[in-house]
Every structure is written in C-alpha cells, then in structure tokens.
C-alpha cells in the first residue's frame, strides 16, 4: 500500500506544508463575530486613548488648580471640563483609565493563572485533595465578593499592586472551579489514558494535556475575569477603597463625581461611567466571540 493512495484531506498530497496554526483559524472565526469585532475596536480605542492620548493631550494630573475648578465642558480649552480640583477631565479620563486597565488586566490575568493551576491540580488528582481544595473555594464563594473586598481593603492600604492582589484574591475562585470541572472531564479522556499507558505521569498529564486542552476555556474565562476585575476596581473605589489621590481610576472618578450629581456636573459622572461600561462590555464581547471561536474549532469535523 503506498502513501500516494491516501490523500490527506485539507491539503496537497503529502506536501510538507503544515496546516495554518490553530490560533490563525480561531482568529478567522472570531473575526466573523460582529459584536466581538466591535468589542475589539472599542477596546483598542480605549487603550489608545489611555496610553497614547496623553502624548497628544498632555495635562497636569498631580497639581490642583482650585481657581479653575468645576469648569463646564468646552470652557477654558477643557474639552470635557475640569474636576472639582481643577484637573482637566479629558486628561484625567486617560490617566484614570490607565489605572483601571492596568489593575484590571493584571488582576484578571493573575486570578486566571492561579485559578487554572489550582483547578487543574484539584481536578486531575481528585479524591480527598480535590474535596479539600474545593471546599475552600466553596467557602470563599459563599461570601459575596463585595463583602470580602470591603473587609480586605480595610486591612491593607490600597496601592496598585495591593489592589491587584486583593481583586485577584476573590477573582481566582471562578476560574478555579471552571478549570477543575474541565480537568475532571479531561482526565478521563482517552488521550490522557493513552499517555498514562505509555508510562507518562501526573505532571505530564496536567501540563501537557489538561492545561493546554483547557486553554480555550482559560482564555475565554480570562477575558471575563478581566472585565470583572475592572468592575471590582470600580466597586472598590465606589466604596472608598481606591488607590490614594492624586492617582485616579474610573471608579474613583465616578464616585467623586456622584457627589456632584445634584449640582448638574454631569461631565464628572458620565465620561468615567460610560468608559467603565464600554471597557467591561468590550471584554465581554471579546470573550463571547472567543468562546464561539474555540467552540467551533474543538468541534469534530
């Protein structure tokens, strides 16, 4: 029987051209999802605003200027007006967005990373270890996240790294549970059995087979986790537990602005509020698109 008899579908006969990488094909499916694309565009826009914006619109976000406080949008060259301390609102939106995005991204990723390893280990090894590890997550999940955040944030003084840790400390729970479920399913897959029959061990099972195969779930969850982390930042700030001024983030800007709702200083409220909604929704759109993309790819032809 010769090789020529058996054309391999999806390409030339035996030519050494490898199939395009999975990532590429995932991207193609992703790009077909309109909402996901919209999310990407919004996210890129917001990232550009926050990280490149200050290059084009430099402002002093450290020194107050009480003489120019509470200016309405458009007055005195301030496109979005000024805050109650005289900071340029547009500049502050960029400045605050950085914090929100940096903290959200870092916390979301950290939580996903830790949760993934925790969940994969619990799920793969199972038994009492799994039971013990899962009771811990159950207990932590039974306490509303906001309750935990309120208490934890009161213990430590918020700063960027601390905020990241605090948020990650509640956010790792859901990826841990998710990945554990995945690992439970994956560990009884035939290919894991096959690997064990070759003489491979638990480490190889977890890191070569289970984690990579749960990667789709992990990546999708990471985007949702980032979105949630950004929301958490906002909630913490709303509860008065944000990084100390003059640093700012969208949540603290919003909660400071709420004070002025009654006075009609809408420009202090809506820009940060809408920015939060947009960025969180954008991550959710992207996550949803990714989920679809992974879903399709993992489906049998």
């Amino acid at each position: 029987m010769t090789a020529a008899e058996l054309p391999v579908p999806g390409g030339g006969t035996g030519a050494a051209t490898a199939t395009p990488s999975l990532a590429r094909r995932t991207a193609a499916v992703f790009a077909r999802n309109k909402l996901a694309l919209a999310g990407t565009v919004v996210l890129v826009g917001l990232l550009a605003l926050c990280f490149l914006g200050p290059l084009f619109h430099p402002t002093d976000q450290v020194h107050t200027d009480l003489a120019r406080a509470n200016l309405a949008p458009g007055t005195g060259g301030h496109l979005l007006g000024t805050t109650d301390l005289g900071y340029d609102m547009l500049g502050r939106l960029m400045y605050g967005g950085r914090t929100s995005l940096e903290v959200g991204l870092a916390a979301g990723l950290l939580a996903t990373l830790f949760g993934t390893v925790y969940g994969a280990v619990a799920g793969y090894f199972g038994g009492w270890l799994d039971a013990a590890m899962m009771r811990i997550t159950d207990a932590a999940l039974a306490i509303p996240a906001l309750f935990l955040l309120v208490v934890v944030a009161a213990i430590v003084t918020p700063s960027k790294p601390v905020l990241i840790l605090i948020i990650a400390s509640v956010a790792w729970l859901s990826p841990a549970r998710l990945i554990r479920g995945e690992a439970l399913a994956l560990r009884s897959r035939d290919y894991v059995h096959a690997m064990r029959l070759m003489g491979g061990g638990g480490g190889r099972a977890v890191f070569r087979h289970i984690v990579p195969n749960a990667l789709g779930t992990v990546v999708v969850n990471a985007t949702f986790q980032i979105a949630d982390a950004i929301l958490y930042v906002a909630y913490l700030s709303f509860l008065g537990l944000s990084i100390p001024p003059p640093a700012a983030d969208w949540g603290s800007m919003l909660s400071a602005g709420i004070t002025y709702t009654q006075v009609g200083h809408w420009w202090l409220i809506f820009p940060p509020g809408i920015a939060i909604v947009l960025v969180v929704a954008a991550f959710n759109f992207i996550g949803d698109g990714l989920r679809d993309a992974f879903d399709v790819r993992l489906r049998k032809d």
Binding site: A139, V150, L254, V277
Partner: protein
C-alpha cells in the same frame, strides 16, 4: 436521596465552618481593632483596654475563635457594638427585607430573561439576537451604583415617576404597600441579573434546539412554538435553576450597593454601616447568614435539579 442529602449537608457544614474561619481571621487582621472606632477619638487608653478585655480581644486568635464558635453553637451571634441590639435580632429584622428585595429582583429577572433568552436563541445570528446580546452585555457591564444613579437621574429627577428612596416601613407588608418606591431598587438589582440569565437562557435553549429529541418532535409534526413550550423550555430551565443558587452571592453584593444607595434598611445596608463602624459581630453574623443562605441555596438548587431532571432524580 437521603444519602445524597446527608452528604450535601455535611459538605455544607464544612463550608460554613470555613466561611466563619475566613471572615473571623480577616476581621482580626484589621489594624487597630474595633475599640477606637467604637469608643471614639476621645476614649482614654484605659477605656480602650477595658473594651478590649471585655470583648476578649486580648486573647489569642484561636482562643477567640473557639469562644465565638462555642457561642455560635448555642445560637448566640453576639451583640452589636454600636446598635445596642443583638445580631440575631438585627438579622431577624433585616433578613426578610433583603430577601424581599432579592426575591422581587430575581422574579423580575426571570420573568424578563426567559422570554428574552428564547427570543435570542430563536433569532440566533439575526439582528434581534445581536441587539439583545449587546444590550445584555452592556447591562452586565454597568456597575450597579452607576446604573442606580442613572435610573435615579432619569426616573426620579428628570421625570419624577418613582421616589429615590426605598420604602422605610418596618414590616414586609408595609414595604409592599409602597410599590412605587420599590421600583427603582428592584429594577436596579434585577437588571444585571437579567443580562446574565438571558445569556444562560439563550445558550441553554440553543443547546437544546440542537438536541436530537427536538428533531424527533418535529418529525412527529409539532410546530416550532409547541416544541419550545412542551420540549425545550423544561430542559433549558433546569440549568437556569442551578444558576439561581450560584447567583446568590452576586445578588447579595448587588443588594449591598442598592440598599445603601436607596437607604433600604436591609442586610446589605446593615453590613455596609457595620463595615464603616468596625462592628465585628454584625459583619461576622451577616456573612455567616449570607454564607448559609448561599450554601442552602445551592443545596436547594441541587434538589430542585434532581426534581426537575428525572435522570438525576432516580440516581440520587
């Protein structure tokens, strides 16, 4: 079934114990302890020492925990430092109010989310699906406090339809007697849940529409609407029921914010003000009750799941 129940109850007890450990340890990590917050700036060091001794804060942490647990088992949740009431009586008073708020919100969310989810699934990939999906994500992405603020601005200030303060009555019936005042708090709590639920509903319906039994039903000559009602809905509602149990903590987080925004004297508000004032017994008590509610919720969900799903029912 009884074995399953016993197993779940033991698990629930372990989880609750862990909840109490977590919260207890966290609270006692708070710098300064509660004395100053309770006694005020002008308190003398003697008064602070006296307070700490009275409350047992001069003992070791495990000792304090053992004491707390001992009292807990005899049904004593402690006394609030500030409110001159026992935590148990405070909870007895506040819990029904929060349960009312949460219950109304969940009910509203379910009533909205189920048809919306079905609509999205049926119109999958069409404009209606995109619009609703987009709206759901936007609603989900909106922090509760921002949402509440916008609602107050719109429906209480611009168009004064609903009051910006929740009902203040002491009794549940008194609260229900002011339906207009309930609108904004309930809607604020519900909107995020609607978003999440409708997403779940959409995918559950989609999953079920792809099942072969749907094709069988079509092969019997059933119309699309009947298939949805007779066949798909029940199968799709089962995962939604599970979600309810899992959603309780999120719901309580939501009520924490909503209650303090709308001055609704429920448990969230109690927790919030206790956190402000370092009223440890209340913080512990509320968290334990919420934890218990969550654990109980997931237990009930499991049972509901078993009742709804015959496959599980006969195994369990």
């Amino acid at each position: 079934m009884t074995r399953f129940l016993i197993k779940r109850l033991v698990q629930a007890a372990v989880v609750l114990l862990l909840v109490s450990v977590i919260v207890f340890v966290l609270l006692h990590l708070l710098p300064g302890g509660p004395a100053r917050a309770i006694l005020g700036v002008q308190a003398t060091p003697q008064a602070v020492a006296h307070f700490n001794h009275q409350q047992g804060y001069d003992r070791s942490l495990p000792e304090q925990y053992a004491l707390y647990l001992g009292r807990l088992f005899s049904g004593d949740l402690g006394e609030s430092y500030k409110l001159n009431q026992s935590v148990a009586s405070l909870l007895a008073e506040r819990l029904p109010r929060t349960a009312l708020l949460a219950g109304l919100a969940i009910a509203l969310a379910a009533v909205l989310a189920v048809p919306l989810g079905i609509l999205q699934a049926v119109r999958r990939g069409k404009a209606a699906d995109h619009v609703l999906t987009g709206a759901a994500f936007l609603a989900y992405a909106t922090p509760v406090f921002f949402l509440g603020l916008v609602l107050v601005l719109l429906f209480s200030q611009q168009i004064p339809l609903f009051p910006a303060q929740a009902p203040q009555a002491d009794t549940v019936s008194g609260i229900l007697a002011e339906p207009r005042a309930l609108v904004l708090p309930v809607v604020t709590t519900a909107l995020g849940i609607v978003a999440a639920f409708s997403r779940y509903m959409r995918s559950a319906v989609l999953d079920n529409l792809g099942e072969e039994y749907v094709r069988t039903a079509r092969a019997k000559g059933q119309s699309g609407a009947r298939i949805m009602v007779r066949h798909v809905l029940r199968n799709a509602l089962i995962p939604l029921a599970t979600l309810l149990g899992l959603y309780l903590p999120t719901l309580f987080s939501g009520t924490l914010v909503v209650e303090s925004m709308f001055n609704y004297p429920g448990m969230g508000l109690l927790f919030w003000s206790a956190a402000q004032g370092s009223d440890f017994p209340i913080l512990l008590g509320v968290t334990l009750v919420v934890g218990a509610a969550t654990v109980l919720g997931s237990l009930l969900t499991d049972i509901a799941y078993a009742v709804l799903d015959p496959r599980i029912r006969s195994v369990a």
